[in-house]
């Protein structure tokens, strides 16, 4: 009897546990589900004071209207992809090479260089906003994808170096020695040993850098906000919200849906990598 009562209590406890978890998880994803469903509702259902979660009539009208009328959206999308991918490639290349040098070699000034890289992690990026605006303006890099990519690369370098230095330092010295004996230059052993050995660390850094670049707001707003040719998605979406909120929410729902869906899908496929990258990046405020 006592055992039964205990089991019953435990069952109801775990029932309560799952109930609470379901409610919290629902709160986490419902806003996104709601946007997806709303983007598939016709105009009349969107402007109703009744809370209708599920669409009565399913329609793709909002998407066709978006493609026809929201001229800038395609540009923003392209720009975001180009800047984010460019940032990831450039950051990983420059960052992991530097991490390799700082993790595996002793040379004059190595500690000082490391200190500068890691020390700036403590400085809020916003402090550089004004200086960077001036710099980009002086070299005609404002409102260019190149300018924003360079800015984002600099912004993510310290963190990438920090993560990759740890990864590269853990590679056994014997492997490098063996390669050296076989006549590998340090440059070659970087590509042939370090990159394959650090692959999962590189992947984690890549997701972190990609997410930072894809979602960044204040620098994109400051540097690339004169024309659709240079705007990225966060800035563009914010602009579209201002232009369309009094006309048609459906089109906005569609555009917002398209701007978060790829990242969420990417996350669902690469969960482990994302979580590793983001927790490794937690030291950066």
């Amino acid at each position: 009897m006592a055992i039964n009562a205990d089991r019953a209590r435990r069952l109801s406890n775990s029932g309560l546990l799952y109930l609470v978890l379901l409610i919290v998880s629902a709160l986490s994803i419902l806003p996104f589900v709601w946007v997806v469903l709303s983007s598939l509702k016709p105009y009349s259902e969107l402007y109703s004071k009744q809370l209708a979660f599920w669409p009565h009539h399913w329609t793709l009208d909002n998407y066709t209207k978006m493609i026809e009328k929201m001229v800038g959206f395609g540009c923003y999308y392209r720009n975001s992809i180009l800047v984010s991918v460019g940032t990831v490639v450039l950051t990983l290349f420059a960052g992991s090479l530097a991490a390799y040098a700082l993790a595996r070699f002793r040379f004059r000034g190595d500690q000082a260089i490391l200190l500068v890289f890691l020390g700036t992690i403590m400085v809020p990026g916003e402090v550089g906003l004004i200086g960077q605006y001036e710099l980009l303006s002086a070299y005609h890099l404002l409102n260019t994808l190149t300018g924003l990519t360079l800015s984002y690369t600099a912004f993510n370098l310290a963190l990438t170096i920090f993560i990759m230095r740890g990864v590269f330092a853990a590679v056994p010295q014997e492997m490098l020695d063996a390669a050296r004996v076989d006549g590998c230059s340090w440059w070659e052993s970087f590509w042939q040993i370090m990159v394959p050995m650090g692959a999962s660390g590189l992947a984690a850094s890549a997701t972190l850098v990609f997410l930072n670049a894809w979602n960044e707001f204040i620098f994109a707003l400051t540097m690339n906000n004169w024309s659709d040719e240079a705007r990225t998605l966060p800035v563009g979406i914010q602009l579209l919200q201002g232009q369309w909120q009094h006309w048609d929410y459906g089109v906005l729902f569609a555009s917002v849906m398209l701007s978060f869906l790829p990242v969420i899908i990417m996350f669902l496929f690469l969960q482990k990598t994302f979580m590793r990258g983001l927790t490794a990046g937690a030291i950066k405020g």
Binding site: L17, V24, S25, S28, I29, P31, F32, W34, L46, Y47, S48, K49, L51, A94, L97, A98, Y100, R104, F105, R106, I113, V116, F117, T120, M122, V123, P124, V127, G128, L129, I130, G131, Q132, Y133, L135, L150, T153, A154, A158, A169, Q173, W186, W187, N215, E216, F217, I218, L221, T222, L233, I237, Q238, S259, F260, V263, M266, F274, L278, A282, G285
Partner: protein, 334 residues
Amino acid sequence: MAAAPPIPGRRKWGLDNPYVFLLPAVLIFGAFTVYPILRSLYLSFYDYEFLHPERMHWAGLGNYREIFHDERVTQWPGIVLPKGSLSVWQIVFYPFLVFWLTINSPGGAFWNSIRFTLMYVPATIILPLFLAVLIERAGRLSTFFRTLNFIPVVVSVAVVSIIWMWIYHPEYGVANTLLRMIPGMSEGFIWLSDPKLAMPAIAVMCVWHGLGFNMLLYLVGLQRIPTELTEAATVDGASGWQAFRGITLPLLKPTILLIGLLATIGALKVFGQMFIMTNGGPGDSTLSMVLYLYNIAFRYGKFRFGYASALAWTLAVFIFFVSLVAFRLSKERE
């Protein structure tokens, strides 16, 4: 770093030299991070409008002095006490009431950033902890719940802010539609247009947005605690709550401090949410430090880069000291 030997022999400038490996990173980082930071520091001592470089002149501490006299930065409501007669509950929770009334009173940009931080940080330390503890106990389903709750983290501040603007929409928003279901609530609130509600509304959104990330940090911290410890305590007759208070919580302290520090630094720099959702309004009730310095630099037409740089550096120094104090306090307690 185990055995990292110097490169034997002489070093040539070529693809076998560590300085060459460092070159791309140092160039990009130097030009786009280090230089702008130092340039901002330099500009903060000048009277400088971007559109009129010819008028640039040395101001000494003038910009910093201006900050102290700028009401839009320094205004502070003081400690706010409840007015009129109090109910029993209000007397029992009097300290909390005063705390809440104070942090919910708008002031200058500096105070607004601080009161946002005071609203955001405690909730963002406590709520994800409960979530993480529950998820740890969910057995096989824990990965599933972890994934669901992490989803908002990968979505940008801009998109999240826009979605929550719709949630807070006074007529069609979900928040008010739900409230109207409660008998006696026919109208709901004007969330983001109400000076008393705008800041808490934004803070709630931010706690929601960061929940999954902090949950993950807590889960990492919880995994480091050997299960034998809590099990032994339970065998010795400790209740679940006692085991949590006596063992889990103290061992989680480093994680709690990390989350608290990250949340504080992030909250003091808050910008996008206010820029998108309220533009600092109504009045100046959600004008944060970064939003104000952004406005000074880029929106009020004068491009006052000198003054804006001084504001940025003041905030950075403040954040640095807050982190330092937090760090010291955590060391002393041990």
